[in-house]
Structure formats: structure tokens, C-alpha cells
């Protein structure tokens, strides 16, 4: 009897202790996790220096957390606003831009680096010369590729960068370019520490500069385990408003279902790119954030070939397409996309509210076709891009819907798709009649939509797949680049959008959205319509 009871006792005690361990968990755990945010991200960053990449995963993990730029985009209308530079001055000819740096900006103090001085002009020079000067000691470290800066032609644009004094830097440009400021404000144009670089040269480990980052941002890197997690802690001497968090963790979870499970089980506070959005909406303590991204998915017409060299035919096709059906099928209602009225998204400052949606009307389409006087029953080749992009998750399905729509007005559609490289090569040759394609902006300056997509020069270099070249339109967008007066630029872009509405070289379909799910304990704005996520200003509880 005694042995039996003692055995039972041991069992009971084990069960009680283990249940206590778990029971206590929910109660007392809050003290540490209260101020820590776990963000379940979709992949590992390739590096900790956004100058070197264009991938969204890396930008999310680094740009706004570890670094600052000279200037930044404000969250409301994406206009350029001060950051490390407290003000700037642009000469009348737009060729010289002088930045006045903020004083008292500190770099991260970490286990591997202790800064002895504050940010000054040398750091700015170092950060940009690393990109521009091919003979710079750090240019070739980490491969010597700076894809964003190469794509905007940075080295052809900048003549020189001068240090006027410790807190003043001047950029001398070879020609005027009002999108230059926007380029400096992107997530890629971060400021690194020159002092840290010099220390690394001395210890003969220059390659560490991009893996053990030192910046001026609101967080600093504590620990990174590849494929597993990133641990950030607050930067105590941050120059702007400091974060209230005690830790920021990126839990790297590449599997979509894995992230969803962790969210539902309460192991993540925020997850990137959630699936099963309906389910998340139903759960009481979770909410879904969305933001319309700076991109556009469109149907482009080859304006150099029959039948789309006739603008009436283009308009007829636009009226015949049931855009709502496309949004419902390809973008899952308004779950992943927002109907596009023109090429720029509504959150851009150049957007014109007066532009109307092209209405879906088969009757009007037939009427326009008759006006155009083309013979009935012609066939077109519609090219559907073979890859998935945020702005067009499924081009082939979209093409099939358009095929059915156009059949109603007597146009036969052949859907054509090649492998991506082949597709692009043949597109550049202009073999298509119409194409389903899209564009993601590199920075929120509206010019990044107009010039690459529809200017005469890009019709030659290849990003303008409609081959549309309108002299009046070209003049307007060039003029808009020369001036820096925002009101004047707004008026000019309004005119440009109006020409597009009249001429319709492409039919805008949708701007895709970016999503993220979070528990209701998390407050603050994380997603921006442009660029990476930003944890500064995000709080818990």
C-alpha cells in the first residue's frame, strides 16, 4: 500500500510540476515579451547593406531599422523630407545640391565597434564614394555591384561630391535631374560609418563591413543566425524619437503555412505576406494591414502595328474588358489589388483625382470599332508574361479572361507565352500586338512611372513596350524633370495623365497591395506604400 501510494504521489507531483511550469507561462512571460516584437519574415537577408541589393527581404531587414538616409519620404504624400540632412538647397539650374547635416547624430555602439565621433561629412562622402569610385578601397568588397545605383545611372549623373565643411556636403551633377533627390531618399542610399571602415582596414577584415553593420538607425544588430533569426536591440543614442521596444526579432520562416500557424498560435506578433486572409479577418485579436504598392499591372498595346496603331481600336478594347472580373479572379477581389485608373497609384503626389475609370461597356466598344473602320473579325496575339509578379500574379488567367471579353466584340485572341528571357527579347523586337506586363517603381517620384514606361527614349532602350512616342507628352515629362517646384510639376503631370487618358497607349489594370497581419497589441504604422517596413514608432500594448 505504502509503495503504491508513494508511486502515485511521484506521478502526481510530476504532473503538477509540469502543469505549473506551463501554467505560469502565460502569466509571467509578459514581462520580457511585453516590449519585444517578433516579426516573422519570409526569408533571410543576403547582406546587411542595402546599397548592394534590390531584394525586398533585405530592404525590410536593414534599411529603416539599421540606417538612415540623408533625406527620406514622408509617410503622408511621399514628398521628400529631412532625415540626416536637416535641410538642403538646390541651385537654380538644378545642378548643385547642398546638404546641411544634422549635428549630434551617433553611430551604433556595439560589441565590435565603439564610435568616437558623431556623424559628419566624411561619412556621407565615404558612403557615396564607395559606390561611385571604382578605385575606392571598399568598392570591390562584397562584389562591387550596386544594382540600384547602376540602374538609375548614378555614376553618369554625379560629377563630384564635395565636403564644404564638417556638416555641409555638396553634390555636383552633370545635368539637371529632379528625381535625384528621390533617389537619395530611397532605402538603398544609406549612410555608413567611415570610422568603422577605417577600423576594419586596420584589422584587415574589410569584408565585415556588410555583415556586421554599423549605422545611425533606430536599431542595432545584436545577433544573426542565418536562416533562423535576427536579433535587433534599440540604439540608445538615436537622434530622432527612440523606440519603446526592448528587442526586435525577425523570426525567419520561409513557409507560408508556417508563418500562418505561428501567427495563430501566438508566436509571432506580425507576419509578412499572410495567406488565408479571410481566416485572419475572422480571428478576433488579429488584424490585417494593407497598403497599395507603387507598381502597375497593365495591358500594353503595340502602337506601331495594326490594329493598335489606331487609338479608336485601343479604346474599344479598353471598353470591352471587364476589369472587375479580372480583379475578382486574378487579384481575389480587392484582396490583392486595387483597380488602376491611370499608371500612377493614388498615393503618389502627382495623382489626379479627376481621372475617371474607363467604363465597361460592350455597346460602346462595338461603336468605337465601327468608328475606327477596321474590318471585323481580326485576330491579335496577346502576350502573357510567364512569371509571377506582385502587380500581376497570374498573367495567363488574365489573358484568358481578356480573350473571352474580346470575343464578344468579334476580336479573336491568341495567347502567347515564352520563357521569361525569350519573352523579353521578342517583346523588344515588337513581335506582339498586345502584352500583359507591369512595372514596379524604384522610388516614389512620379517620373519613375512616366519616363521608363512611355517616353520616346525608353521606346528605343526597351522598357517602353508599347513603342508609343508622343512628342507633346515627352516634352511635358521632360519639363517636369527640370523644375523642382512641386506645384508646377503637379500641373505638368496632370497634363501628361490627361494625354494618356486620351491616347491610351496602355490600359491600366491594377496596383497590387502588400499585406501583413498583426496581433492587436501592436500599434503604429509599419507598412509604407513605398520601400521597406519601418519598426521605429511601432509599440506593443
Amino acid at each position: 500500500m505504502t509503495k503504491f501510494t508513494s508511486y502515485i504521489n511521484v506521478l502526481l507531483i510530476t504532473v503538477m510540476v509540469s502543469s505549473m511550469l506551463i501554467g505560469c507561462d502565460s502569466g509571467s512571460e509578459t514581462s520580457l515579451s511585453e516590449n519585444s516584437i517578433i516579426y516573422c519574415s519570409e526569408g533571410s537577408p543576403e547582406t546587411f547593406n542595402p546599397q548592394l541589393i534590390t531584394s525586398g527581404v533585405t530592404v525590410d531587414a536593414t534599411s529603416k531599422q539599421l540606417y538612415n538616409q540623408l533625406i527620406t519620404f514622408n509617410a503622408i504624400d511621399n514628398a521628400v523630407s529631412p532625415s540626416l540632412a536637416k535641410s538642403w538647397h538646390v541651385t537654380r539650374d538644378n545642378k548643385r545640391i547642398t546638404f546641411y547635416l544634422r549635428k549630434g547624430v551617433n553611430f551604433h555602439h556595439t560589441q565590435y565597434f565603439s564610435p568616437t565621433r558623431e556623424l559628419n561629412a566624411d561619412d556621407v562622402l565615404f558612403s557615396f564614394n564607395r559606390i561611385l569610385d571604382t578605385k575606392h578601397a571598399f568598392h570591390q568588397v562584397s562584389g562591387g555591384k550596386y544594382p540600384f545605383f547602376q540602374s538609375v545611372g548614378f555614376s553618369n549623373l554625379i560629377d563630384s561630391i564635395e565636403k564644404i565643411n564638417d556638416y555641409t556636403v555638396r553634390f555636383n551633377l552633370k545635368r539637371a535631374d529632379s528625381s535625384f533627390l528621390a533617389n537619395l531618399a530611397t532605402d538603398f542610399s544609406v549612410i555608413l560609418s567611415k570610422e568603422y571602415a577605417e577600423q576594419l582596414i586596420k584589422s584587415n577584415q574589410p569584408e565585415l563591413i556588410d555583415n556586421y553593420p554599423i549605422g545611425t538607425g533606430p536599431f542595432k544588430l545584436k545577433e544573426y543566425r542565418t536562416g533562423s533569426f535576427i536579433r535587433f536591440v534599440p540604439h540608445e543614442q538615436y537622434w530622432d524619437e527612440k523606440t519603446t521596444l526592448s528587442q526586435l526579432l525577425f523570426d525567419i520562416t520561409p513557409s507560408n503555412t508556417g508563418r500562418l500557424t505561428k501567427m495563430l498560435a501566438g508566436e509571432c506578433d506580425i507576419i509578412a505576406y499572410p495567406i488565408a486572409q479571410e481566416k485572419i479577418r475572422q480571428v478576433k485579436n488579429l488584424s490585417l494591414d494593407q497598403v497599395t504598392a507603387f507598381n502597375i499591372g497593365y495591358l500594353g498595346f503595340n502602337t506601331t502595328r495594326f490594329p493598335f496603331n489606331n487609338k479608336l481600336v485601343r479604346k474599344a478594347v479598353a471598353h470591352a474588358i471587364n476589369k472587375q472580373a479580372i480583379l475578382d479572379t486574378v487579384y481575389f477581389g480587392d484582396a490583392e489589388g486595387e483597380s488602376a485608373k491611370t499608371i500612377i497609384p493614388p498615393s503618389s503626389w502627382a495623382y489626379d483625382n479627376s481621372i475617371k475609370e474607363i467604363e465597361y461597356s460592350v455597346a460602346k466598344a462595338r461603336e468605337l470599332l465601327e468608328q475606327a473602320g477596321v474590318e471585323k473579325g481580326f485576330t491579335i496575339d496577346l502576350w502573357a508574361m510567364p512569371v509571377q509578379r506582385a502587380y500581376n500574379p497570374d498573367a495567363v488567367t488574365m489573358a484568358k479572361l481578356i480573350q473571352a471579353d474580346l470575343n464578344q466584340i468579334g476580336i479573336k485572341v491568341n495567347i502567347i507565352s515564352y520563357k521569361w528571357q525569350e519573352f523579353l527579347r521578342r517583346l523588344a523586337l515588337g513581335e506582339h500586338h498586345a502584352v500583359l506586363l507591369g512595372w514596379s517603381a524604384d522610388h516614389p517620384d512620379p517620373d519613375n512611372f512616366f519616363t521608363p514606361l512611355l517616353s520616346c527614349s525608353s521606346a528605343i532602350t526597351g522598357t517602353n513596350r508599347t513603342f508609343w512616342c508622343n512628342k507633346a507628352f515627352d516634352q511635358i515629362i521632360q519639363q517636369a524633370l527640370i523644375t523642382t517646384d512641386i506645384q508646377e510639376r503637379k500641373t505638368l503631370y496632370r497634363q501628361a495623365l490627361n494625354i494618356l487618358y486620351q491616347e491610351l497607349p496602355l490600359f491600366p489594370i491594377a496596383h497590387s497591395k502588400r499585406f501583413q497581419a498583426r496581433t492587436n497589441k501592436i500599434k503604429g504604422k509599419l507598412l509604407n506604400s513605398f520601400g521597406g517596413i519601418d519598426f521605429n514608432g511601432v509599440t506593443k500594448n
Binding site: 500500500m1 509540469s18 509571467s28 517578433i38 508556417g258
Partner: protein
């Protein structure tokens, strides 16, 4: 006991040799260059690769190549992982402790639950309780583990929200890695949140450990039941009954102790089964153990990791077997007389 030890050791050595032979031949069977497969040097310059080839005796006879391979192994050099370019030995040491932790906790749960239930079934032999327990054991043994794991996550993590579904510990707790064993590391750390971290880690291990434990527990139920039934049939039990001891005294004084001896031996045999189950479970619960690492290596065609991982894992299981054999032999003198390393 000396002869017993020697026999076990020779068995150990020969099994290891066979294992290394298998892993050595894998480097020829995998696609790609043999030296690259065996060393993991993917981005090496031609000169460096030539040096590695010379080290492994690439230009000499196959026996010398095998011998060179063995020398590398004995120096603890398993090559480097093709995926992470870290030494395999380091990767194994990083991942093995998590698996040992999970398997040990699972084994403990399986024993604590399975053996007593098996005894209860034996005591109520051929009664309703016995039948219920046996059918439960049958069902538990038949459930595929990946399905059970998903089901457990669905119920306990998502629906009820009681237990976490992934990982060893919440990332919030910063535990410095010293021994590699999470629980020891937590106790050794000087974090002010030590106790919270310990609770959190316990909550994390509970669900995967229970999932791993289910199948072995059902085996223990049946083993303990058979062992107890055998003991109850013996003459000394009958003698004890004749002397007038009551049933409870018979079970606790004689039955349990004598039937446990039979079960202990099978605990060791179950360990191999347990580690296999743990490997699958690790993937489902994102447990950073050697199983999920090995399966990830298979996905990434990381041949060096597959060879080294297999070798390390099988030697580990084998060592555990031999250890339980020794424990069993010291508990039960009769077993020492069994020859030829078999039962």
C-alpha cells in the same frame, strides 16, 4: 564481464567500419566529383581542390583512399557542408544536442506513461481494462507520426492556444550557447529572465516530445504487460502466494522489480526508433535538431552533410545501444553469459 565488454567493443568497431565503408562509397555514388562530395569544397580554386584531392589520396588505389578517409574521420574532419560551408563536425555538434534533448524527454514520458499502464493491463489480465488499454495501444501505434504532429499543432496550438507550435524557445529569450543543450544553457546563463526562459523552453518541448513519445509508449505498454504476465506465472510468485502475501504485496515487492529488468533492455532498442520518429517530428515542429538538418541537407543536395550526418547519427544510436546493454548486464548477471553480441 571482461569478455562481455570485449565482445561488445569488437562489435562496435566492426559496425563502425561497415558504416564508414558505406559512407565512403556514397561519395562515389552521389552525382558530381568524388573529391568535392567527400570534402564539400564547392568554391575552391583548382589548386586548392588539387591539394584536397592529394590529401584524400585521389590518385592512389581505392584502399589507400579509404584509409585516408578514415584518418580524416579520426581527426574529426568530416569535410565541410556544401550548403553553409561550415565544418560538418561543427554542424553536427550544433544540432545533435537538440535531438538528444527531445528524444530523452520523449523517452522519459514514454516510460513514465507506458510502463505503469502496461502493468495495470497485466494485473487486470483479460478484463475490460486490459482490453481497453490494448486497443488504445494498438491505435496509438498505428497513427502516422506526421499526421499526429499536425493534429497536435491544430488542437493544442491553434484551437486551444495552450502550447507553442515551433522551435525550442521563444526568440525573446537570449540564451548564450555553451553546452548546446538548451536546458543546461538556460540554467548556466546569467540572464535575469532565466526562470521564465526555462518555463518557456519546457512549454516548447512538451508538444513535440509527447508526439514522439506516443508510439514508444504503446510499445512499452505491451512489453511491460508481457513481462509482468511472465513474472506472475513464475514459481516464486506462486510460492509467495502460498505463503499468504496479499496481491498488492506480491506486485510491488516482486512483480514490478523483476519485470522491469526485462523492459530496461528494450528501452535501448526503442531508442533507434525514437530518433527516427524525432527526425520527422523535428521537421513538423521546426525543432533545430539533427533530423531537420539532415532532411534539409537532402533537399539542398548537400552530399557531405548527408554522409557525415548519417555517420554521426548511426554511431550515436549504436553507442546508446551498447550503453543500455552494459546497464542491462550490470543489472542482470545472467545476460553476461550471452555470447556473440546478439541476444
Amino acid at each position: 564481464m571482461l569478455i562481455f565488454t570485449l565482445r561488445r567493443l569488437s562489435l562496435f568497431v566492426f559496425t563502425l567500419l561497415l558504416l564508414t565503408l558505406l559512407s565512403f562509397s556514397l561519395s562515389f555514388l552521389f552525382p558530381g566529383d568524388q573529391v568535392t562530395n567527400i570534402s564539400g569544397q564547392l568554391n575552391a580554386s583548382p589548386e586548392h581542390l588539387e591539394m584536397v584531392a592529394a590529401q584524400y589520396g585521389k590518385h592512389e588505389s581505392i584502399f589507400i583512399q579509404y584509409w585516408r578517409y578514415l584518418t580524416h574521420l579520426f581527426q574529426g574532419d568530416f569535410g565541410i557542408s556544401m550548403a553553409s560551408q561550415l565544418p560538418i563536425s561543427e554542424e553536427v555538434l550544433n544540432h545533435l544536442p537538440a535531438t538528444i534533448e527531445l528524444s530523452s524527454v520523449a523517452l522519459l514520458i514514454a516510460m513514465l506513461v507506458g510502463i505503469p499502464i502496461g502493468f495495470i493491463a497485466a494485473i487486470h489480465h483479460r478484463k475490460v481494462t486490459d482490453n481497453i488499454i490494448l486497443s488504445f495501444a494498438m491505435i496509438g501505434y498505428s497513427i502516422p507520426i506526421f499526421w499526429l504532429g499536425l493534429l497536435a499543432i491544430l488542437i493544442f496550438s491553434i484551437q486551444l492556444g495552450w502550447l507553442p507550435s515551433a522551435g525550442q524557445i521563444s526568440l525573446v529569450y537570449e540564451i548564450e550557447q555553451r553546452t548546446g543543450f538548451q536546458f543546461f544553457d538556460i540554467l548556466l546563463s546569467d540572464s535575469p529572465y532565466k526562470w521564465q526562459a526555462f518555463q518557456n523552453a519546457s512549454a516548447h518541448i512538451l508538444l513535440p516530445a509527447c508526439v514522439v513519445a506516443l508510439a514508444p509508449a504503446t510499445i512499452f505498454i505491451r512489453l511491460a504487460r508481457t513481462a509482468m504476465l511472465n513474472v506472475l506465472e513464475t514459481h516464486y510468485i506462486k510460492a509467495a502466494m502460498a505463503k499468504g502475501l496479499n496481491y498488492r504485496q506480491i506486485i510491488f515487492r516482486h512483480g514490478i522489480r523483476n519485470s522491469l529488468v526485462g523492459v530496461i533492455r528494450d528501452v535501448g532498442l526503442q531508442f533507434a526508433n525514437l530518433v527516427t520518429l524525432a527526425m520527422v517530428t523535428e521537421v513538423i515542429f521546426s525543432w533545430p535538431g539533427i533530423g531537420s538538418w539532415l532532411i534539409e541537407s537532402i533537399y539542398q543536395r548537400d552530399y557531405t552533410a548527408i554522409q557525415g550526418g548519417l555517420l554521426a547519427l548511426s554511431s550515436f544510436i549504436f553507442i546508446v545501444h551498447i550503453l543500455t546493454d552494459f546497464i542491462y548486464a550490470s543489472l542482470n548477471p545472467l545476460a553476461r553469459e550471452v555470447h556473440h553480441g546478439s541476444r
